[in-house]
């Protein structure tokens, strides 16, 4: 393994390709994300941004290329000669380093909020219940849901559910948090409470990657923005620069359209 001159990035994606049914979704994507960064990934629908996120925590197994998070790497040359099952173990280890919050509200409906949070630490990491509960309460306080620990998901608003989902992911002590359009299923007035939690985490130094349509959030909170189109990274740029002065025409077109409709 090559030692880079600087400190190794926390997330490193190299020459990643992925296709579904012969239809390429990611083409040769390379991306490095440093520890503590908050990165927004934007782009039109179908540009591959969600797939990129899902490849980072191996919910989708990349066809070829390399993903490395916090030193845990998964590398594949060719999906035809190397079947998926060879990578099941690495994928599982990699996932343990990564927390993920989805667009759909998918807390476990048969469990209370507290139970949602302590389940994985207890069965995956064998944490004793007391410790898991104490940690869960600390996280619930952080996302402002202390009063709701004994409620079931359906008793909470969408924003509260997403905050609980963040707490649930944090309970596994991930090095990285991924968000797949975390606010797009929410009513507009509930969006900010979720984004605020992400800002707080950023202040604490959490590394976060957000696929989002919230341009205001992307612009204000991100350290930098990744613009994708047709399965490729078109532009990586400072948050203000990309809005004021996009280098690439495609980015400019997308942003202009977006601002008009928004």
């Amino acid at each position: 393994m090559a030692v880079s001159e600087q400190a190794a990035p926390l997330i490193s994606v190299e020459r990643l390709t992925k296709s579904f049914d012969g239809h390429p979704v990611l083409r040769d994507v390379t991306l490095q994300i440093e520890e503590g960064d908050l990165v927004s990934v934007i782009g039109p629908s179908g540009c591959g941004k969600t797939t990129l996120l899902r490849c980072i925590n191996c919910l989708e197994l990349l066809d070829s290329g390399r993903v490395c998070v916090a030193g845990v790497a998964l590398e594949r040359q060719d999906r035809h000669t190397q079947p998926d099952r060879l990578f099941a173990d690495q994928a599982h280890r990699l996932r343990a380093e990564v927390g993920m919050v989805f667009q759909s509200l998918n807390l476990f409906p048969h469990k209370t909020i507290l139970e949602n949070i302590i389940l994985a630490p207890m069965i995956v990491k064998n944490e004793p219940k007391d410790a898991a509960v104490a940690n869960a309460r600390r996280l619930l306080a952080k996302v402002g849901l202390s009063k709701h620990e004994n409620r079931h998901p359906h008793q909470l608003s969408g924003g509260q559910q997403q905050r609980a989902a963040i707490a649930r992911a944090l309970a596994m002590n991930p090095k990285v948090m991924l968000y797949d359009e975390p606010t797009s299923a929410l009513d507009p007035e509930l969006v900010d409470e979720v984004l605020q939690v992400m800002r707080d985490l950023d202040n604490e130094g959490m590394t976060q990657v957000v696929v989002t349509h919230e341009m205001r959030f992307a612009r204000n909170a991100s350290d930098y923005i990744v613009y994708m189109e047709h399965g490729e990274i078109v532009e990586i740029s400072d948050e203000d620069e990309i809005f004021i002065n996009p280098k690439d025409d495609r980015t400019r077109r997308f942003l202009r359209q977006f601002m008009e409709t928004a």
Partner: protein, 576 residues
């Protein structure tokens, strides 16, 4: 009303579960043969316990294995080993238990060969029972009755369920190819019976163009078939044949002499045609490979023929006829009054008052209770197997890699696509040929359990599919393994969806468990058939049995509804 019914059934269930729990340890132990018990204390390393232990064990044994219809010597019931509970070793090694002599027969429609004494349900009587008692006495072995359907008595013999098959086995060249027969102990002819008020049929030849009832797989069938032009109706029970004769569905019935005498004789609406048709010799059937027992039984039968003992028995049952006289060379006067026949006729003629009927029904309760207990045991254990195996199959089908999931699908399709009856026969009679032998009880549990597992698997699959895929992804993203995700996240949510169909299946299994009667088990439905035929009362007994089935199922329906309500708290309405 509903509530009190529920409470009553709840109490019944509690009692049954308790009995089940009591029975379990007894089932697990291999009961020692009566003789072995004598030697055991000396050989046992702990001298203080055996005396205290063995009576308890025997008592327990008696409680749970009392044959629904107890073997003839009810007083010595503690020695009897019940076949339904007999575990594999006992069933398969009868010769080793030198103390007992197992014989197969069918109590359903067994009059006058072997049947449940109407005077005291639970005791067996019949002319063949008396012969067996004699044989047992001479052999110093206790005859123990094993129930099997009449037309499966010979397969059961070859399956080693018992050492000999009785109950009017005709000695014919075809039968002799499969089994060995004793010397004849009785000879009779076929008897043609017609309705009292008709003259259309007065001989066998008149049967042409008429509708005639016979017993399945009997000599009468072939005789009528040879005659030609007869509309033959094959019955499995004599009573139904006579019922149809009386209510005009049949022009005549043709049965073995004793059957006609006992079932047709007491009926005022039935007339016997005086014509000797065919000649039937009864012999006990033995496996072809057991010449020693056959030789001993032949000796004893010849002795009984010679000293008039057999004649005495046949006279008691009013079965002596010129054919037997010629066979035995005995033309002397009767050695006994036909006391047993008279008793039977008296029982048939009696018109019971309400209170007498009620008393009789109450007398049925212990027998029906035993049948119900067996039904419940078989159903609960099969369902347990079905649920566990079904869950496994569904998990494999939905989540395992392709070759494995195809195997699970194949299993499900094969099992669902073939009749459970065939599966039970196959497991019980078929598997022994490749060395897999189950006792009747476990064959029933395994057969029904494996069958229902296929249906449960489909229920679970539907349940799994109803849980959104995002739930699985959320669990995987939390670094849970696939199995952990299924177990902690998917299955609990699927459970709620699956509960109603699973409850439904259990109720249906409770009723399907009556199928195990074909592999020699006397469960509730079989008990009903035997009681109804013996007492000629399908109505009252039928209502009782229906009520018991309802009571058995009700607690589970209620339990399921309660669980559903409880789970609904966490899931208001259907998931969006």
């Amino acid at each position: 009303m509903n509530g009190s019914l529920f409470r009553a059934s709840g109490a019944l269930l509690a009692v049954m579960l308790l009995l089940l729990a009591l029975a379990a340890p007894a089932r697990a132990q291999t009961d020692p043969p009566a003789d072995g018990g004598v030697a055991a204390p000396a050989a046992t390393p702990e001298p203080e316990t055996p005396e205290a232990e063995s009576p308890v064990a025997e008592e327990e044994e008696e409680e749970q294995e009392g044959v629904p219809i107890t073997p003839e010597m009810a007083a010595e019931a503690e020695e009897t080993v019940e076949y339904t509970d007999a575990d594999f070793a006992e069933v398969e090694a009868p010769a080793a238990d030198a103390g007992i002599l197992r014989y197969g027969a069918d109590l359903e429609g067994g009059v006058p060969y072997i049947y449940d004494d109407p005077e005291s349900p639970g005791a067996l009587i019949g002319f063949e029972v008396e012969i067996m008692d004699h044989i047992g006495e001479k052999l110093s072995r206790k005859p123990v009755f094993v129930q099997n359907d009449w037309d499966k008595l010979i397969p059961g013999l070859n399956r080693d369920l018992y050492e000999m098959a009785i109950q009017g086995q005709e000695i014919t060249p075809e039968h002799e190819e499969a089994v060995a027969f004793s010397v004849p102990y009785y000879v009779t002819a076929l008897q043609l019976c017609v309705p009292q008020d008709t003259f259309a049929v007065s001989s066998l030849a008149d049967c042409r163009g008429k509708t005639v009832g016979v017993l399945k797989a009997s000599l009468s069938y072939y005789i009528l078939a040879d005659l030609g032009g007869v509309d033959i109706r094959a019955y499995s029970t004599e009573v139904n044949g006579f019922n149809d004769l009386e209510n005009g569905r049949l022009d005549a019935v043709l049965f073995d002499g004793p059957v006609a005498l006992y079932y047709g004789g007491p009926r005022p609406g039935v007339k016997f045609i005086k014509q000797e048709i065919g000649r039937i010799s009864y012999g006990f059937a033995f496996p072809a490979d057991d010449p020693d027992l056959l030789a001993r039984v032949n000796e004893i039968l010849m002795e009984m023929r010679g000293n008039g003992e057999l004649r005495r028995i046949l006279d008691r049952w009013n079965l002596w006829n010129p054919l037997v006289a010629a066979e035995f060379g005995d033309y002397g006067p009767p050695k006994s009054d036909p006391v047993m026949y008279d008793q039977w006729v008296a029982q048939q003629g009696r018109v019971s008052g309400f209170s007498e009927k009620l008393k009789r029904y109450i007398g049925f309760l212990p027998v029906l209770g035993k049948g119900a207990l067996l039904t419940l045991e078989v159903s609960l254990l099969s369902m347990l197997l079905a649920i566990v195996l079904g869950f496994f199959l569904a998990t494999v089908r939905v989540y395992a890699p392709r070759p494995l999931s195809l195997l699970a699908t194949l299993y499900i399709e094969i099992i669902r696509g073939t009749p459970v009856l065939i599966q039970l026969f196959f497991i019980f009679y078929g598997l022994p040929s490749i060395g897999i032998r189950f006792s009747p009880f476990w064959a029933g549990v395994v057969g029904l359990g494996m069958n229902y597992a296929a249906y449960e698997a489909e229920n679970y699959r539907a349940g799994f599919i109803s849980v959104p895929h995002s739930q699985m992804e959320a669990a995987l993203a939390l670094a849970m393994s696939r199995w952990q995700s299924i177990r902690h996240v998917i299955a609990p949510q699927a459970f709620r969806v699956v509960l109603p169909p699973v409850t439904n299946d259990f109720i249906s299994l409770l009723k399907d468990s009556s199928l195990v009667s074909i592999i020699t088990m006397i469960e509730l439905t079989k008990t009903y058939q035997m009681l109804a035929i013996t007492y000629y009362d399908y109505f009252g007994t039928g209502l009782m049995v229906a009520a018991i089935y309802l009571l058995l199922g009700l607690p589970f329906v209620r339990l399921a509804r309660w669980t559903e309500k409880k789970l609904a708290v966490a899931h208001p309405g259907v998931r969006r």
